[in-house]
Amino acid sequence: MSSRRRMLLKVIILGDSGVGKTSLMNQYVNRKFSNQYKATIGADFLTKEVQFEDRLFTLQIWDTAGQERFQSLGVAFYRGADCCVLAYDVNVMKSFDNLNNWREEFLIQAAPSDPENFPFVVLGNKIDVDGGNSRVVSEKKAKAWCASKGNIPYFETSAKEGFNVEAAFECIAKNALKNEPEEEIYLPDTIDVAGGGRQQRSSGCEC
């Protein structure tokens, strides 16, 4: 297996518009939160170095770049993902109901070799809103869904307050690392037209 490939872990975050995908990424990577919601413009992917058992890995977290608004993410977005994060807003029932669609869309588009064991992580975001009073999806309900889909790890988060975000992404990274990609297509190494830029590049967010 290519060493370069194993150094880089691709994580994608799926979920309805407005559930806080970009905010979750930003909180984890930059420890920043903006109250001003704008449908995502300018977010591409963020990278963060993570360490496991004395080895450094680059976690590359891909935003939907707004292409999820009309379910128009292309197959290229899904490809080669090592972990898929499904995010919803605990205050919006529809965003929870749609998790199933996002999961299925991922399995169709990414077509992982072992769909039963592909690592997903579910995040219930915005638990801070209105002190939890506007919440419509219970933790029990969310956990039951996760259990029914092969025990998907579940985290309740607040991107705004930074609550549980670090722990959630630690789990995401660990699961991404466990995912064994199909070996054959990684040999020989791909040609790096940007002279190694792909690995080191970290992308800014304009919003």
Partner: protein
Amino acid sequence: MTESASYPPIDPTTFDLILVGTGLPESVIAAAASAAGKTVLHLDPNSFYGSHFSSLPLDELTSFLTSHSTTSTSSSHPHLPPSTAIDGEDYISVDLETRPVYSDLDISSHSSEPLEHSRKFNLDPAGPRVLFCADSAIDLMLKSGTSQYIEFKGVDASLVCDSDGKLSTVPDSRAAIFKDRTLGLTEKNQLMRFFKLVQEHLASDGDERGDNARISEEDLQSPFVEFLKKMRLPPKIKSIILYAIAMADYDQDDVEVCKDVLKTKDGIDRLALYQSSVSRFSNAPGALIYPMYGQGELPQGFCRRAAVKGCLYVLRMPVTALLMEKSSGHYKGVRLASGQDLFSRQLVLDPSFVVSLPLASSSPDFLQEISLDFRLKSAQGKVARGICIARSSLKPDVSNLLVVYPPRSLYPEQATSIRVLQIGSNLAVCPSGMFVLYLSALCDDADQGKKLLHAAMNALFTPDVSGNPENSSSVQCENTEEVKSTLLWSALYMQELNMASFESISFTPMPDGNLNYNGVLDATMKLFKKMYPDEEYFPETTSPENSEDDEGISLES
């Protein structure tokens, strides 16, 4: 397409630019316009990105080619006369329909195996297509930030068929010339001398003094084939340079009937492109590279760049009509299949669309004028394309390779080069144990096109494909190391060629007959500059991540 009904209304409703179709030219324009700060809406009736530049699973490729072919009723209102409707006070709506851009589609399946793995294929309707490592397309991807989404692997070998029907490796470097056992010592010296002269010419380019190293202006304007003769290069070498390096399409030896005589100047440029491609990336085995998962990754990369810059994407959304201002006949907007009307200053359509206008007698005067404007400018000739799925590689030890059959190499009347690109599973375009071969050749009509494709297929595949037991799937050819493979599945078709056009409604070009993207991307850049004469085409520092990226430039060795 019923899914379109479930979308919420698109908001906002007014844009600077609306594009329909996500082929490479539309996607590049969407990315460039978004980078220039325009508000852009990018629509596609399909559920996938890429239109005629996509990479598709086997079953989807079949339905895509079928739905855009002459034999099918692809238009949404096949038998109704085109209609216009007066809408409210200000606008008149004119039906937007699709027209066939492929014809003579011929699909043969000799094994059920490929279809059983349909989704493991990523097949290019516009193949064969590769990038030269030194192509401007690579610079465009770096400049626009698209390169970070796409990975490439090299085409391992480049072969050319000689007059005896034998395939030999294209010697593309000094080392390769020395190693080549098929070249005699005299030939090697001639080739070395020629390459040296070309290098000296290129090195002295811009040097005003006309010293000995330079090739004279008279020679530069003469046919390349004459210059090669003057350099006393033997026929075999001439053929390699003309057809496997400079990628000439038409028979250059017959200058009277040749439709596109390559001038020495252009021939030298193409040699230079080839030479600088060979040395550009340290781990590329040759001059050519191909994207992982197929060429459909390119439009998707540009679309993602556009999205990152704020472009709004809606797939599975057909446009049913265009809205024209009643008083002037000017384009104003589009009507979606969902019934929503959206407005924009400019509109770009992919070349399979046609604005269908009512009969002159029943239409307002201005419609007769725009009917002239909105007609797509078509180019002469067609390109014959073939996609073949085979059991084994043409060369046992190599997975990805290019084969060129120069004019007259397969049969005396062969008027154009046939190019074959074989791509294997290590580029994630097919299941392991299979190979995809793309064929193309320019032609005047379908008969000629099919004959060209069949000639190459006869040379590539074993004739008997029915009832072969699996274990005898390949047959060793006499006196060559190439292996004739078993053909499992094939699709042959003629594709129309057209030029990009700029009017109040612009059309993008179809994939051209070339091996690389330069022609298509040149036309795209020109279209963008006509649409936005004051805007820069991908400004250097368009985003923060680009400014951090100072490694992207230090590529060339």
